[in-house]
Symmetry: C2
Subunit: 277 residues, 2 copies
């Protein structure tokens, strides 16, 4: 068991940063939402850009990488770990929770909760990477909340490269999105979870395809709410910090900085490269 133990006072814990990791850039959409509703918190972000993406990799490889990433954050003294990657959240949460004595939050639970709360026809769609969809994790989590909800998944492997290419509002993206989303539309869902942290950047296209009667659930903002609740419940939230964000990556910082600013909607200044694994 690693990380902060319960023996220290909450006062010391409060001032510690929140640790966020992702396979690469996508988790920055989660960081952005956390900063919005927790403006006093310090944050450390780690993006595993040397081994990105995780979405088509196997369960045990994803768990191994996730543990290495979280170990790095715990080594920097974080008070909480956010696995801001759907693929990692699908597989690694039980392992991470056994390993550390600090709260560990993923993006799946909050997204599932948001979708279960929004559907009226009890028909929810979930889109994500191949690994996330084939794990059926959203289905399991949503059915835990309400077993009557029908959950229909669709993997969209081209969405991540489209976002990283910056083709957010092109005809090509619309055609690809229509193709991926057609089966969900046909099934008559009224709520859809964006089950990948890259997808919020495609929200305008996705919303346009489904029309206004379908709620588009962005797991980034749902996760931020869950983070706030856990910090509050544990008495370790920090309203008076300097809101410093530190960024670490496992590959070239410059590559991360360029595309990362698009995800974050603001300029990233300093990014450090570290070795993990």
């Amino acid at each position: 068991m690693r990380g902060q133990t319960g023996s220290r006072s909450n006062g010391i814990m409060r001032k510690r940063p929140i640790g966020i990791f992702d396979s690469g850039l996508g988790g920055l959409t989660v960081l952005k939402e956390i900063r919005k509703i927790l403006p006093g918190e310090d944050i450390i972000y780690f993006g595993d850009t040397a081994r990105v993406p995780y979405g088509a990799k196997s369960r045990d490889t994803v768990i191994k990488f996730s543990v290495q990433n979280a170990d790095f954050l715990v080594g920097l003294g974080v008070k909480m770990i956010v696995a801001a990657c759907n693929t990692s959240s699908s597989f690694s949460l039980p392992t991470l929770r056994r390993r550390y004595n600090i709260p560990v939050v993923g993006v799946i639970g909050p997204g599932a909760k948001g979708a279960a709360g929004a559907t009226r026809k009890l028909k929810v769609g979930v889109i994500g990477t191949k690994a996330t969809i084939s794990s059926d994790i959203y289905k399991k989590e949503i059915k835990k909340i309400n077993p009557k909800i029908d959950v229909i998944g669709a993997s969209c492997p081209l969405f991540v490269p489209l976002v990283e290419e910056g083709w957010l509002n092109t005809d090509v993206t619309e055609v690809i999105a229509r193709r991926y989303l057609a089966p969900l539309k046909q099934k008559g869902i009224d709520s859809i979870v964006l089950g990948c942290t890259h997808y919020p950047l495609l929200k305008p296209v996705i919303s346009r395809i489904f029309g206004k009667n379908v709620s588009v659930i962005d797991s980034a903002s749902q996760t931020a709410k869950a983070v706030k609740k856990i910090l509050d419940n544990n008495g370790i939230s920090n309203n008076s910090g300097q809101a410093r964000c530190r960024f670490y990556v496992s590959d070239e910082p410059e590559l991360f900085r360029k595309i990362g600013s698009r995800f974050l909607g603001s300029r990233i200044n300093s990014v450090k490269r570290v070795e993990v694994g």
Copy 2:
């Protein structure tokens, strides 16, 4: 200095397998061409599927991974190393050549030679990943052969995910390809190098877009010819082997086997998982 030294006889060397590595699946297009013209050779293929893709990663990360992959093959006693990945070939050949005492071949030199031989208007296009194109390696290699040749590069980041999705002949692929290739068409190239081992699967679309007056140079078949020549020149080719192919990957073998068969055009039976790095 590792690998086979010159002190053993060529007779023993001859019977050793050829080692091929790639970041993932793409190198199978090179393996396929090698098998065609060297049907007596045993081959060991390693795909670094846990860390795939290399195309958007930095120079030193790609070199580090390439050395680990090649060390694995050398440990299995190969007589030659083929870096069947354009990104790896762009960055790691000098390091690999210093490290081992057996021939090391990449895919860039052979592709460049093919293009330089095919162009009449002295205008060559090169397409590849971001890393390959921004390294300008094809330009350098082609200009070494003939400095008068104009080389125009274009990176096509969506081609790899399109191929892995199996969308080889769809409207979407055609639209994306037209968009990426338009600047090359406009410049009036008469020869284009497919500078990524995934791209031969898109050859029909690419050929259609350029028409019959543009030669499409597939570096896989060029590389196979280079491999044959080096083996012959060193007196270590094997015409009487059992043509056994062994496959190793760093992630889940099943994922590799499924898509790999599409690349190879024949069924892959046994794939073993190994740890590298």
